[in-house]
């Protein structure tokens, strides 16, 4: 299947027009020494229908959320995508365009991005937001980099209840960039307040916590904020489940300096984890230190309202090695998913989303804990995820659930060896009571059979 429109005859005529005979005449600048003298070793071309057949069968080799009842979250959440969202986002004018360097030709994308920035502020309670970063984990990295400052060193304190993959990513960057990451241990499922206080010092550039944290538990953000701001550190709140902001206090309300979040929950396909959507919001005073693209409202030469990229002097294409970040291609289309999604849900729907997740997760948690041998790993308030200590290893439990068409909770012992037999269950609005009851019966049956 080729997408080159011109026929060999046309290409021949074009070659003639530029005074060449064969394409080799044009490729001459490429020295013979580096030329590939054989065809690439790749499978032969397939026609569209054969490609479709091949990929469809590969796709069907996966256990997707349409065919399995899932209680897996741990950073990626299964929410209902309203029908209008893909219909609108997949308008070709949106997805076949590029970065709006020519604003007169890109008002649609620019305006939608301005709306996106506004909505991110509305849900987080922050002042300003950018037009997206790669994902939640790199958004946390950018927050740390912003806190540390250009070329700066120092230390960043990170809660061990921050998503393990985020911590790993942050460590990778910190090592290269040259600042220290120190982890703050846990106490009953949340960041240890005493450890944090002990660790804070004049060199601390930022404190990074996650709310709700990796265990779904709610951190005592006020205490952390006070401790953090008592030094000169920035208070960075990471969010992997922004649907929580429908019900939970927004970081803007408790003094966060930066919110770095994963936005996939808000309307994007879960897609085996990507493309993801890094959300980044901060306070007005930091706007010129913010990474990433920003859209602003302005006027045209006829006095009409219009939108354009702005504050570009922060960016790599202007400031080069002194840019606030190296990001160029971002996750713009995902931002549009979120914009349409949040428009569709709206004020009422977003609150309802938060409340439904909260209620369903609590219904599930109580039902599971009523089973013999299952008990809460922590007694903390939680949002739509909760850790349960199970009577048998989570791996075994999940293998049994899989055979029953279910995807079980996340095996916490993978990242927290001390949490043996602990599973992190997630229950969103996409699960029905029936789904939950099915899980509970299955758990009972599985554990019963092992006795």
């Amino acid at each position: 299947m080729s997408y080159v429109p011109n026929t060999p005859a046309e290409q021949q005529a074009m070659l003639r027009a530029i005074g060449a005979t064969t394409i080799e005449d044009v490729l001459k600048p490429i020295p013979d020494a580096v030329r590939l003298k054989r065809p690439l070793d790749l499978p032969a071309a397939l026609r569209e229908t054969d490609v479709r057949r091949l990929l469809t069968s590969m796709a069907e080799d996966n256990a997707d959320l349409d065919h399995y009842i899932s209680f897996l979250g741990a950073g990626s959440y299964d929410h209902i995508q309203p029908s209008i969202v893909p219909h609108l986002v997949k308008r070709a004018e949106f997805y076949t365009s590029y970065t709006p360097y020519q604003p007169e030709f890109s008002q649609g994308m620019l305006q939608a991005t301005y709306e996106f920035q506004t909505m991110v502020c509305q849900i987080t309670g922050m002042d300003v937001a950018n037009a997206s970063l790669y994902d939640g984990s790199t958004a946390v990295v950018e927050a740390a980099l912003m806190a540390v400052g250009a070329g700066g060193r120092g230390e960043v304190l990170v809660s061990r209840a921050l998503d393990p993959q985020y911590r790993a990513t942050l460590r990778t960057y910190a090592h290269t960039r040259g600042f220290t990451v120190r982890e703050i241990g846990l106490e009953r499922g949340v960041t240890s307040a005493s450890e944090l206080r002990a660790a804070l010092n004049a060199d601390t550039k930022a404190v990074i916590i996650q709310q709700p944290n990796f265990f779904g538990a709610l951190e005592d953000v006020h205490a952390i904020e006070q401790a953090t701001h008592a030094t000169k550190a920035l208070f960075v709140v990471a969010i992997t489940e922004p649907a929580s902001l429908g019900a939970i206090q927004p970081p803007g309300a408790y003094g966060a300096d930066i919110v770095a979040a994963e936005g996939m929950s808000l309307g994007s396909p879960i897609g085996y984890g990507g493309p993801a959507l890094g959300l980044f919001a901060t306070r007005t005073e930091f706007v010129r230190r913010m990474p990433g693209r920003i859209v602003g409202k302005t006027l045209d030469d006829r006095g009409q309202i219009g939108y354009a990229l702005t504050l570009q002097t922060r960016e790599q294409h202007i400031r080069r090695e002194r840019a606030t970040s190296n990001i160029c291609t971002n996750q713009e289309l995902l931002a549009i998913f979120t914009t349409v999604y949040l428009s569709a849900l709206g004020k009422q729907g977003f609150a309802e989303l938060g409340a439904q997740c909260l209620r369903k997760a609590h219904y599930a948690q109580q039902a599971i804990c009523a089973l013999d041998g299952f008990k809460p790993a922590f007694d903390r308030p939680f949002y739509d995820e909760f850790a349960i200590t199970c009577p048998i290893p989570v791996e075994r439990l999940n293998a049994e659930l899989r055979d029953r068409g279910m995807i079980g909770g996340y095996d916490l012992s993978r990242d927290y060896p001390e949490l043996e037999n602990a599973a992190l269950f997630c229950v969103t609005e996409a699960r029905t009571r029936d789904d939950i009851d099915t899980l509970v019966s299955a758990l009972e049956e599985i554990v019963g059979a092992t006795k």
């Binding site: 530029i18 394409i23 600048p29 490429i30 490609v51 590029y98 709306e115 002097t313 190296n326």
Partner: protein, 493 residues
């Protein structure tokens, strides 16, 4: 088309779309579930709109946007080629789009297989040993590559290497990535043929002897020119103890013709959203996987897709790995599109892509060289750079020319990049354009050149036919208004 107000200016109090399921568990008061202090006190002030309002608003906004599906988009360096619809269909299959990233490997055999094979395809195309699919974009690939290079030097105790060489024509992400990797950047001058100035390279290597960590370059470079000295450059940098990083943004010129690995590069990123036809989505998402030479394999981020008798699985990275560069498995649905494209084209098809891209660029370049300055008069690769210097003397800048192009339902070239060409216009037609479209663009560029001489005001006042006129970017930056607020007052910052 008339203007379109913001979604926040639409709707009315109480309007809502009942999209969520009816609650089927007990509706307990939220503060019975968690302490009230954790609860949001005011709902987020999101729009209160009906379904038809949302649909009309974003449908209308889409019509205020230009994309490849509407017309020619010769945005240099960005490879705005046709994005096959089948790619979109495959990425929408529930088995891909609805797959949770943390399911057990046994439940993601199709996905891991796809990534395993894609890794091999990219390695083969780039001439590299292994590949990581984690990076979300080119710049993400760059920083990942630099981290690998740094880890490599460190592993050898070679810790004084703090300089990254970057040609003066390079894309801004290259120096920005180098800074992010805590390197100092040193700019390499271009020579009269548009390549790296070998004498300057030599001098720079000498000046920073023992400190050279890497050279980052793209070949063909941002002038669209293939650096014929690449083997020599690679040799000298390697001799100086440096590694070679290949910025693959311009790989659309070389598939099946030459490979960065064969040129001597140690790390290569490919922009799948450029070369492999996945859409740019208005600025993203993309994917910027990197391939590395054998000696750098131990430093790759993990996990990597692997295969044994029992099937496909994720294999953790070894002890020398730099670690993750993001959560989960890369921009997976973008990778599905790229996989689809590579399978559709096959080896001959990919070579034909690159040859055709090169032909199309040369065809336009030769047709326009009489009307605009051509700073380097050599066969170009998949793109080339003109200068509007001649027009600028008549008072018409590259920006004016770009705005005038908008009046004809075509997207302008990249302008003012690379920085080393005055009034640069960087033109990349890509292989998916018909000869007729190229001819139309040529005719338009000639017309504008004539207008610049005969009727400059029509160019200076352009665009005339777009939904808004030229936007005041100074105002936008001076008094930033970055979000709507209920008072409708700009949140000035």
């Amino acid at each position: 088309m008339s203007t379109e107000s913001l979604i926040f200016e639409k709707g009315a109090p109480g309007r809502a779309i009942p999209l969520l399921p009816e609650l089927d568990v007990p509706e307990r008061p939220l503060d019975h579930l968690i302490p009230a202090s954790y609860l949001r006190t005011e709902p987020a002030p999101l729009p209160e709109v009906s379904e038809i309002e949302v649909v009309r608003h974003y449908t209308r906004l889409s019509q205020r946007n230009f994309g490849v599906d509407l017309g020619f988009y010769p945005l240099g360096s960005c490879t705005m080629k046709y994005n096959p619809k089948i790619n979109e269909d495959m990425a929408s299959l529930p088995g891909f789009a609805r797959l949770h990233p943390l399911v057990d490997d046994s439940m993601a055999q199709g996905a891991i297989k796809l990534l395993y094979e894609l890794e091999q395809y990219i390695a083969e195309i780039a001439g590299m040993a292994r590949v990581t699919l984690q990076p979300a974009a080119g710049a993400h690939g760059e920083i990942t590559g630099l981290m690998i290079i740094k880890a490599y030097h460190e592993s050898r105790g070679d810790i004084e290497r703090n300089v990254v060489l970057i040609p003066d024509g390079a894309h801004g992400t290259n120096p920005a990535s180098a800074t992010l990797a805590d390197y100092t950047t040193v700019e390499l001058k271009s020579d009269a043929r548009g390549g790296v100035d070998l004498a300057h390279l030599e001098a720079t290597l000498a000046q920073h002897a023992g400190h050279i960590a890497a050279l980052m370059m793209t070949n063909p470079n941002t002038l669209g020119l293939f650096d014929e000295n690449i083997v020599e450059i690679a040799r000298r940098v390697h001799d100086a103890g440096g590694q070679l990083y290949y910025d693959g943004a311009n790989a659309n010129a070389i598939m099946g013709i030459t490979r960065p690995g064969d040129m001597g590069f140690d790390v290569v990123h490919l922009n799948l959203h450029k070369t492999m036809s996945t859409p740019h989505g208005g600025g993203g998402p993309g994917a910027g996987p990197i391939g590395v030479a054998p000696h750098l394999v131990p430093f790759l981020p993990g996990p990597l897709p692997a295969k044994d008798d029992s099937g496909y699985f994720w294999e953790d990275a070894g002890p020398q790995s730099i670690g993750r560069v993001r959560a989960n498995n890369g921009n997976f649905l973008v990778l599905v599109r790229a996989y689809t494209y590579i399978r559709s084209n096959g080896p001959d098809g990919l070579r034909h892509v690159s040859e055709s891209a090169v032909l199309n660029a040369n065809y336009i370049m030769r047709a326009l060289e009489g009307e605009y300055d051509l700073p380097f008069n050599r066969a170009c690769m998949h793109e080339f750079v003109l200068s509007a210097d001649r027009q600028k003397k008549l008072g018409v800048s590259a920006l004016d020319i770009a705005k005038r192009i908008l009046d004809f339902d075509m997207h302008p070239p990249t302008i003012y990049f690379p920085l080393i060409v005055h009034e640069a216009m960087m033109i990349e037609p890509t292989e998916t354009e018909t000869r007729e479209t190229l001819d139309e663009f040529i005719a338009l560029m000639k017309q504008i050149a004539r207008e610049a001489r005969e009727n400059p005001s029509i160019v200076l006042e352009a665009p005339h036919k777009t939904v808004v006129g030229r936007l005041d970017q100074t105002l936008a930056a001076r008094k930033p208004n970055l979000r709507w607020t209920p008072e409708r007052e700009p949140a000035t910052v």
